[in-house]
Amino acid sequence: MDSSYMNDGRMNACSPCSCNQSRRMEDLRRMDNRRRVDASRRMDDRRREEVSRRMDDRRCEVESRCMNDKCREEAPGCKDERCRECSCQTDDKRCPDKSCPMGKFEPFDKTDGLALAMAYVPWQCYQDTFDLRKGLHVGTIFPELCKPFCGKRGVRQC
């Protein structure tokens, strides 16, 4: 025990008999308080860990559902965490840091918001058809589906 405790013990020792009973009681009370504080701190740590784990789980869940491939891009030089967070969590895709290059980002691509590694087939609308002789020759009667292979040895031939 340190000297401050001893001083406090003396100051609190107001019993007329001046025995050590009051100091023992004070000692027990202080130890009990320390245990409570330590327990409270441990509880706080556990709570913080739990909250952090839940947040990580939520972030992973959100990122797995994210449809924007740009949300994981890290703006060079920007210290703001919102640059790195998933765009699903906010409607504003711009970085709040004015000096950050991400701040100039504006969605302009038609494929913005579409997931990677997915194939898309636009809906075909019935239009005029080829002359049937030409249709047999090119392999389809629909002009919009006529896609001849024009490449040869890495260069376009037609």
């Binding site: 075909q124 019935y126 058809t129 049937l132 002789r133 249709g135 047999l136 389809t140 009667i141 629909f142």
Partner: protein, 95 residues
Amino acid sequence: MLDLCQPNQKELLDRIDEVSFAVYDMLLYLDTHPCDQRALDDTRKLVEERKLLLETYAKFFGPLTADSTADSCSDSWLWVLQPWPWELPDKKGRC
């Protein structure tokens, strides 16, 4: 439309091929657009034309398919007597 009174066998076969392919392509379109009325109308026209062409071919040159075996005017079984597609003199490997 071809002259049905004096059909040329090669021209008739070419036309059957063209129309049959168009019908098949239209069927593929209708598989994904079953309610497209304009496509349905065009398909019905093509199917009718194909049916007429097959009947005409069977009438003059023998049946091309089992469905048109009854369209032949011959008393014999032309299905087996007529030349096979690869035996036609001006069409090698034709089906």
